[in-house]
Symmetry: C2
């Protein structure tokens, strides 16, 4: 059981179930890419893990090394839980509403993917027998990025003693430096910061308050402000007060049974590394004024309109698996929330849903999340790439420190500086730079956005190509090699000629050359010579791709297929994830794969392999991939589908989509896995839909698994919106808006201008591969009524 | 200029030269393997780096990780500068003798390799014009391992004012927790501990005092005690006092010009992890009683006798290079000091001459130092291997944590627990276990010590063989592989089939099988089955040794010869050592070698290569080896000599021997490089002498470089003592004591029973290889009058 009710357009949780608050807080998180609120209860406690985040707002801390080395990053960054503005406490005749006490008669929370509102209904009886109904609605505005708003209603309910009226006191807070406890050694969990915010300014008057704080080490400054509208019968008394870490509006009133006390709270946030406290205060008060001008109903209407447009271009429909339907829409909603209004900031691995991975952004943003955004909300993809571009000087400096040319983008970061303290899995994973280039090329091909191409894209491609040209070398033995780096699979590190990296670098080099051909003046500004372009083309042409002739498969990197096999039979279930139970040295030297690596190359550089090779390679790696990473199932689904293993593709699709709802990695407390949610979209669109974009050409090869009756997805391409509908034997292509779209159906060129229904050819027939013992896709019933094994 | 005067049997330093005190302190360090005193001035200040060490006595500290991992060691160990007992301060008419003030008229310090005594003569004039002559002699007893002794004499000298008598006050201290300053980020330097010793007991009476301390974290306990004999004219007043960190005998007397105040100080040390303070106090007082019973003259006589015996079996004579002659004897003296009385403790990388590498022992003890001891003081080699054996349970536990069978000995440690915080250059360097096995096999072959073989040797061989059997695997492609480990070269890490490691593991497996054949009952106790022995033999037989057919050389590990070349031309001189100026990732992925790795295999497993292969491989690696490690020159010398490059062999021999006297690695402040000193011996004996011991057979192939006129060395083998004397065209073998020795001269079997003079065949004629630009052997004139470039 996920604990969540199945519904195609909503996620809801019924009942108090206080032991799973942290899971619900992540799933119910609201965000707009700039501001994120975890789905905590209005009253602040009980709470799993409190969290309010401003994208890009972090604290700095020293990275300790028992044995330091040249070029090791010295400063780490951790996302800060900023001033909490969503707290609304209630006293019912002096009894605080706290669901750990008294009796919860009814409790339901619902996140609606079409309205973007998290609503809550609670009927609660206090320890002394007073009953109230609390209804709240919360939103983080997509249209006004600094704004969150809450409508909070309390209605006294009749009780057995015949109470007529109940005294209610509502306290609405801004609270800074909430205490957070952490007792884990899991390296994936965020550092717990103690009171990271130093109070700088506080002010309150009437129904409005402002707190300004600054982080102690990174010196970033933030402001939070709140304003309120109150509706109640006569006799309402309010007061407001503030101090360094707390601002509080208190409203007290006696309310008759059946009447309602209604509070509307507007919360505004802003932060800056340069602006002064007065400037930030002015900024958040202006944001509040705008929100009050729009009003609650206006904010709700804007939200709906924004989401209607999103679903028109992005919706995925699944007939035959309601739970999967729900999970896919939840995933799309959260990806939108992560990227919609990030603007000049990164999209972190957990979006703004939790502090996992310290709030850092990784390569999976470009590789998994940006394809979704590129084909649904391309402006958000552009903004995310714009963030990378804004950090290019840091990436060039990092390359310089490492003795390389061009730009070496960080493995993990908030502000663009490398924060990875373990170089074999950080610095050495240079593929992040090729992944960024790949996202740039994809965005350009899908939008033909010439402004971006000239202002940012070409420079990103050129500087990353320069990195590869200086990282690799022509070897007298055979071709252009890239040695001593780490590919996507985190259970292998510091290897030669990782095929994924080499093929992505190959594409990066060619794309950079193409971009320079398109924009010769930009190339000249960047100091690119003909000789340099020729060298890129030459390195790309000679890129080494090792092959194991004996086994007839591609080794993930040189020597991989000669390494010892992992003893899967001898590995107990509770020893996963392996990284917490086996040393890196042993993981690295054996044929055990944490996440798709060669298989990811089969997807993203599928143009470099024949179908027979893909089928053999997929089967080989399928037997050795444990999916201790949430980045894997979606990719495995995509390649399984291409090889005709439709049931396996479906199983991995479901696992990717349900990773967080089932908490398969036991860490959803720290936030949702954006890349896994995006991987589920890939599993539908690139897997079942067979969508590929090699060389900027859009193609499809749709096919259904037995378990599903119909799958439909939508996307945009070069300004047009299309829908692809997959039935058992046919696929229908539909133009929703814009110009006709040229594409292909199973290798046959087509143009989508009106509805076009085409037969689906028989699937390729390769033997179904077998995952390692105990690491099969998580089983579940279609309806989601049985928990995964 | 080294600063040291050239003399065949002494090292002396003339003049004050206070800027180089730390170098002299290391070179003048006295030790017996149990107790070590750096060669600081008697009066304690000025001082380069104070240091008094007890072998095995360490403090523990947490190892921090910004990103932790399974199996990472949590506790580090650092050698403690224990209570300093060698301080004797002098007040001359209330002016403290301090060579930074007043005027030093004469100053000379001399370490005599035959007496084992460090002497000092200083004529000093105080700021107010009083003159004194201070003579001190210091020894750390080889025969009474807990004891150091100092004879200290002060003689007032005539001054210009006609002074008749001078008031002298001598303070003799035991001083704990001396302050040590450290401001370096060099990872090779020891952690600076602040006040590691907590006072537990202090006592003084008459001329005797005892201090007992305990370390704060590791909980080890130590005691230091002193007693004194005073000789002076009438009027001598003494008093003694003590507190937690200080005990002080004060002696005051007026001394006539030409008369002498003589103080003899006996210092006793003891430490234990289990014994109580009273027990330790009793132990050091007993040691003092013994020393006083022997008396100063007796200690001096015992020391001389011990050293006479040592030089009879160990002396190396060089005709034609006085500086080299001196350096080789200094090296032998220090190796003896490091290992003589270590008994159940390790021989640290710096011996007991300084705190470098935190006082840890590494593989170089077994690979470089123990061969010297095996062939000169075999009991010391046995004791050092006994230390390894005493830690075998820790090594087995470490193997278990790493998921391996057998015993995985630590990369660096004081007490046997792994202290390496950077696994690619620590844990992964499994060859340390094969190096220990190699040392066991060498000791056994050279001594036929059956007791050791049964009680310790076989178990060490068996448990290390088990490690290799579980680390490697039979691969369907080709043979038995050992993947993902790190060989000796620290500029390459985590590689497959490092040839050095594979060949040493091969020998380890065969030696274990041989030992089980020799001692079937021991094998049975260790649970060794016939199947297991067969598996060892099989793995050894199929051990993979990669070869580059295109280049016709052995790659150091799989793929090495395909890697990018290092840009030596573009590397400025001040960018060495490279590890302080380039990231590991880039060093690891290129063809740059810190220290002999494949070349070390050419020496230690020379039986696995033809001479042609050796010549080609040596030339290839010679062009890529930068010698940023002090472990390299000796080995390069050995293999150069075998390949007939006698001048190069001589140059590397000189570099190895003079590494510390010239401070070529700019860190002799932290202690002498025992393995480099031992490498110089290897360069003479295995290089010029061509001594090999493959398969336990002793063979020679002597040959002189042009620059030398005659070289002679001595060694013991199976209880016999022999001398090998190399002239230009002939070599003479001489039996000094014991039974005739069967050996070979340039491949011809001989028996040394009487003097045997044989012709030296012509050297092989291969082209002389070239080291990387700027990394040629350090040049110097033969007489040492010119500094190295």
């Amino acid at each position: 059981m996920t604990g969540f009710a199945v519904d195609p357009w909503r996620l809801s949780w019924q009942g108090a179930d206080l032991d799973h608050l942290d899971r619900a807080e992540s799933a119910f998180a609201l965000a707009n890419g700039h501001l994120g609120l975890r789905g905590s209860l209005d009253e602040g406690e009980p709470v799993g893990l409190p969290g309010t985040y401003l994208n890009g707002f972090y604290e700095e801390h020293a990275l300790p090394y028992a044995e330091a080395g040249y070029g090791y990053p010295e400063a780490g960054q951790t996302v800060v839980n900023v001033t909490d503005g969503k707290i609304i406490r209630l006293l019912v005749e002096d009894e605080p509403l706290d669901m750990r006490y008294g009796q919860t008669l009814e409790h339901r929370r619902t996140l609606d993917f079409r309205t973007g509102i998290l609503s809550r209904e609670t009927d609660w009886e206090s320890p002394t027998g007073k009953r109230v109904r609390v209804r709240s609605q919360r939103l983080v505005s997509f249209t006004q990025r600094a704004i969150a708003a809450i409508r909070y209603e309390v209605e006294p309910l009749p009780d057995e003693r015949g109470t007529k009226r109940v005294q209610l006191v509502v306290q609405s807070d801004l609270l800074a430096n909430e205490p957070i406890e952490s007792h884990t050694r899991d390296p994936r969990v965020a550092l717990a910061l103690k009171s990271p915010l130093a109070g700088e300014f506080h002010w309150s008057e009437n129904t409005r308050a402002v707190l300004v704080h600054q982080t102690r080490e990174s010196g970033l400054r933030m402001a939070a402000a709140m304003d309120h509208e109150l509706e109640a019968n006569e006799g309402l008394r309010t007061e407001i007060a503030c101090e360094d870490d707390l601002a509080r509006l208190t409203a007290a009133v006696d309310v008759e049974i059946g009447e309602v006390l209604r509070l509307t709270k507007y919360i505004g946030y802003g932060w800056s590394s340069t602006r002064s406290a007065p400037a930030l205060r002015a900024q958040v008060e202006a944001a509040l004024a705008g929100a009050r001008q729009t009003g609650w109903d206006g904010l709700v209407a804007e939200q709906r309109e924004y989401l209607d447009d999103f679903w028109e271009v992005a919706d995925v429909e699944i007939d035959g698996d309601e739970e999967l339907q729900q999970a896919l829409r939840l995933g799309l909603f959260h990806i939108l929330q992560a990227g919609a209004r990030g603007e000049s900031r990164a999209i972190p691995g957990k979006g703004l849903t939790g502090p996992g991975y310290d709030g850092h952004a990784f390569w999976d943003t470009e590789t998994f999340v940006l394809p979704v955004l590129t084909y649904t909300v391309p402006d958000a993809a552009r903004d995310a790439l714009g963030w990378r571009h804004s950090t290019i000087d840091l990436a060039k400096e990092r390359a310089r420190v490492l003795g390389k040319a061009g730009a070496a983008f960080p493995w993990r970061s908030i502000n663009g500086q490398e924060c990875s303290a373990y170089w074999p899995a950080g610095t050495a994973a240079f593929h992040v730079s090729a992944d960024i280039a790949d996202a740039v090329a994809r965005y350009h091909a899908a939008t033909q956005d010439a402004d971006f191409d000239r202002a940012q894209g070409t420079e990103l491609l050129v500087e990353t190509a320069r990195l590869w040209a200086s990282l690799g070398h022509h070897d007298p033995h055979d071709g252009f090699r890239i040695d001593g780096i780490t590919g996507p699979d985190e259970y292998t590190a510091v290897v030669d000629n990782n095929i994924y990296t080499n093929l992505m670098a190959q594409k990066n080099l060619d794309e950079a050359a193409d971009a320079c051909d398109r924009n010769p003046d930009v190339a000249e500004q960047l100091g690119v010579s003909t000789t340099e372009v020729t060298a890129w083309r030459d390195a790309a042409a000679k890129m080494r791709v090792p092959y194991d002739e004996l086994l007839g498969v591609h080794p993930q990197a040189e020597g991989f297929t000669e390494h010892e096999e992992w003893d899967f039979e001898g590995t107990p279930d509770d020893h996963y994830p392996l990284l917490l139970n086996y040393p890196y040295f042993d993981l690295y030297r054996k044929q055990v794969v944490k996440q798709a690596d060669l298989v990811l190359a089969l997807h993203l550089r599928g143009d470099a392999f024949t179908l027979d090779q893909k089928a053999r390679d997929f089967a080989y790696y399928e037997a050795r991939t444990v999916r201790d990473s949430s980045l894997s199932a979606g990719t495995q689904s995509v390649v399984a589908a291409e090889c005709g293993h439709m049931d396996l593709a479906y199983a991995y699709l479901a696992e990717a989509a349900l990773t967080d709802l089932y908490d398969l990695h036991s860490n959803v407390r720290n936030g949702l896995h954006m890349a896994s949610l995006a991987g589920a979209w890939q599993a539908v669109v690139a897997g079942l839909g067979g969508m590929r974009d090699h060389g900027g050409e859009l193609t499809f090869a749709p096919r259904l698994p037995d378990a599903l009756e119909r799958v439909s997805f939508r996307m945009c391409f070069r300004g047009s919106r299309i829908q692809v509908e997959i039935a058992r034997d046919t696929a229908t292509y539909r133009l929703i808006a814009g110009d006709p779209v040229r594409t292909a159906h199973h290798g046959e060129a087509i143009t989508i201008d009106t509805d076009l229904t085409l037969a689906i050819p028989a699937a390729p027939d390769y033997p179904t591969p077998t995952p390692p013992a105990g690491r099969e896709p998580r089983r579940r019933s279609k309806a989601g009524s049985t928990p995964p094994s």
